[in-house]
Symmetry: C2
Subunit: 257 residues, 2 copies
């Protein structure tokens, strides 16, 4: 039987405020067994870019990454946010190792081609090295991954953290029984967004079809759940959508094949 | 017989200008066998700090590191400089891994006590984990180390890159036959600074005593060579002082016990 691993993606807001970061790190440290953390950092990037006189241009919530912005996200994601998480986890006895996709070549990507939008130095993932990550994890190391990849030609690329999480989870699936947890602002997938008691605890492909048909799941939740099923198709055992204060593996909406 | 490893420390200037960085990476990639690179980044830190409206205060060439400055050096050393080196080496087929002292807990330090000068978040190294580094290196990984340590309580600390180099070299000595190479602006230790033909190719403890007695070695060179002998006493096989364009292991001044 494969050993369990938990791959958790947290957004920027949680890791960028000292108080919420500390309680996240407490909860992350308490998770038993192997684990990986993928983090964002967009608010800090916008803040530092602003101070440096660099305008943050977003399209559909994603950052246009020109050369100056790439410098900022390299500093903020790979340095400031990542290394503070690593130091905070080391203080909790977790042997954290901060990684971008360039480190140990774990995430290779290509620069997204300009269409209507020229995204600049934004990378779409080509491959994740699950064998290398598994080797590090087997040594007791806990990878902390910044949302940066590289193209193998010397260029770092800004890459969506959700994508890094799913690619990492899939790459680890041959070696581990993988739970992929996405943290977001709600306790999970809700039947009625404003009703905390309406959490849907379990979704499988059959119930997903029904929830789509009756309109319970709509809008921005559809791509999230489609991505979850893509991860399951890629070998991930289960995907959990939950709040950052409930990453115990029991809470939230569990999505299974 | 132990396997050979080369631990190279390069200053900020070389890694902060694109042209000199690219040729350094070419030369570093060409070094045979196991290797480690320790880099600075002070000029970039000063530049970014300046843009952010943070004054860089130096005493004896060392940076006073208040909380705002610690953010800057974490971004610049751990992010911008380190990750660009890593991506550049990956493009050359070198399996580079960027590390601060917090990553895998490789370099533990304590905050320097304020005396006449309050250095702020500056760390003096307590321990380097040679076993962990050796394990990574045995996997074919090439550590690229930023001049940052941590205190095990969640704080990153700004730490002199020369010290990180010597502590890393000593920590690796039980596992490898270690050559520690310091790059600086001259081809090595010179009898006459302005005479390129006056390089001293070899210094041992006997000849060092003579060179000190006759005044050939004086001033700022004395602590450098004292540090080299301290590394030798700590198990390092040889220390080389050379120029960054001559890190082939043959050039420069070789210091042996």
């Amino acid at each position: 039987m494969k050993k369990k691993i938990t791959v958790i993606k947290v957004g920027g807001k949680i890791v960028e405020e000292s108080e919420s970061l500390q309680s996240l790190l407490d909860r992350f440290a308490a998770i038993e067994g192997h684990k990986v953390l993928i983090h964002g950092g967009g608010r800090s990037a916008t803040r530092i870019a602003g101070k440096l006189g660099i305008e943050s241009r977003m399209v559909d919530g994603r950052r246009i990454t020109d050369a100056a912005t790439l410098e900022v996200v390299t500093m903020v994601y790979g340095g400031l946010v990542n290394k503070n998480i690593v130091a905070g986890l080391q203080a909790r006895g977790i042997n954290a190792l901060g990684l971008t996709g360039a480190d140990c070549n774990v995430l290779r990507a290509h620069k997204r081609q300009a269409t209507e939008v020229d995204w600049g130095f934004v990378g779409d993932v080509d491959s994740a090295d699950g064998a290398m990550l598994a080797k590090l994890i087997d040594e007791g190391i806990v990878p902390i991954m910044a949302p940066l990849t590289h193209d193998g030609k010397g260029n770092l690329l800004n890459t969506n953290a959700d994508t890094i999480a799913s690619e990492t989870a899939k790459a680890l699936a041959p070696y581990f029984d993988v739970t992929l947890t996405y943290c977001f602002e709600h306790p999970g997938v809700m039947r009625r967004p404003d009703d905390a008691t309406s959490l849907i605890p379990l979704i499988d492909s059959n119930s997903y079809r029904e929830l789509l048909a009756d309109g319970t799941i709509s809008g921005g939740m559809i791509p999230k759940i489609d991505n979850a099923f893509a991860a399951l198709a890629g070998g991930v055992s289960r995907v959990i959508i939950t709040k950052a204060d409930a990453i115990d593996g029991q809470s939230g909406t569990h999505i299974i094949a």
